[in-house]
Amino acid sequence: MNRLKNFWDTLWRPSTYFSLAFLTMGGFIAGIIFWGGFNTAMEFTNTEAFCTGCHEMRNNVYAELKRTIHFSNRSGVRAKCSDCHVPHNWIDKVARKMQASKEVWGKIFGTINTREKFQAKRLELAQREWHRYKSNDSLECRNCHSEEAMDFTRQSKRAAEAHERFLVSGEKTCIDCHKGISHELPKMSASNSMPDGAMASANIHVHQLKLYLAGTD
């Protein structure tokens, strides 16, 4: 306790040997190194290699992404995990990273360490992301797909009409219609479906469907 007090006193006493210039310059340089180091470390957690370092990501969501247009397409532009799941501006990014620390907990305790556990939890995980997209007006989509830059005349008739009716009017946001484009959809039912209940009429009872598939209909 005494040693701690001595240390505290030393900290607050003016420096005896080092010049003010040395201390300010030293602090400045150290600041750059720490800040740079912090950001570099944070950027590292945004890489595909980091995200797919765990089998939970590699074998489930990443495997599903590989089959979609966001992974492989005619122009060769690829969206990696962080493009859609981490906000780009700094404060939101740090906030998201702090939330994501819960995923470390999940990893340690094996919350989704098997395909079955993942499937069971898929709806909850998906809904969390859908909610995030819904409340930030699909910001991560719009980081690349800007409404202003969208040429409706180059879209199919169907797509152009839908965008004109729902996107331009602001009635809906990207995620309302484009769920499941990068990962498989969870089991949807009437209550937790697409927001407009479109999925509701698809409320075939899975049990019934399983029976049918098993040939015991």
């Binding site: 979609t68 089991k187 949807m188 479109a198 698809a202 049918y212």
Partner: protein, 107 residues
């Protein structure tokens, strides 16, 4: 392979019972136990927004002829019968003619 046709124009059926062809792309459409992408537009409730044709009422019927509240399990897997098309030249020709042409020929 050529890309899937996406012109939204309905094709003439070659015979009356032919399941209508899909006039748009269906790449990556998920149709499985968990979810059915087609029904997000073609279900009874969705057509108001999507303006897509509703799944035919025959699809609500189970094999005992009972109409269910929504698509019957045996008609759930859309792409067992309905398919998108590719603009490609067939490698093997065929001499199929539809029934109208056949009747005309007979006369």
């Amino acid at each position: 392979m050529m890309p899937q046709s996406n012109n939204d124009l309905r094709q003439v059926r070659n015979y009356p019972e032919q399941p209508p062809l899909i006039p748009h792309k269906t790449d990556g459409y998920q149709v499985d136990l968990r979810s059915n992408k087609c029904l997000t537009c073609h279900s009874r409730k969705a057509v108001g927004e999507s303006q897509a044709p509703m799944v035919s009422i025959t699809h609500f019927m189970d094999r005992d002829g009972q109409f269910l509240a929504s698509v019957s399990p045996r008609r759930y897997f859309c792409n067992q019968c309905h398919v998108s098309q590719h603009e490609s030249k067939p490698w093997v020709g065929n001499t199929f003619v539809d029934v109208d042409t056949l009747l005309q020929k007979k006369q």
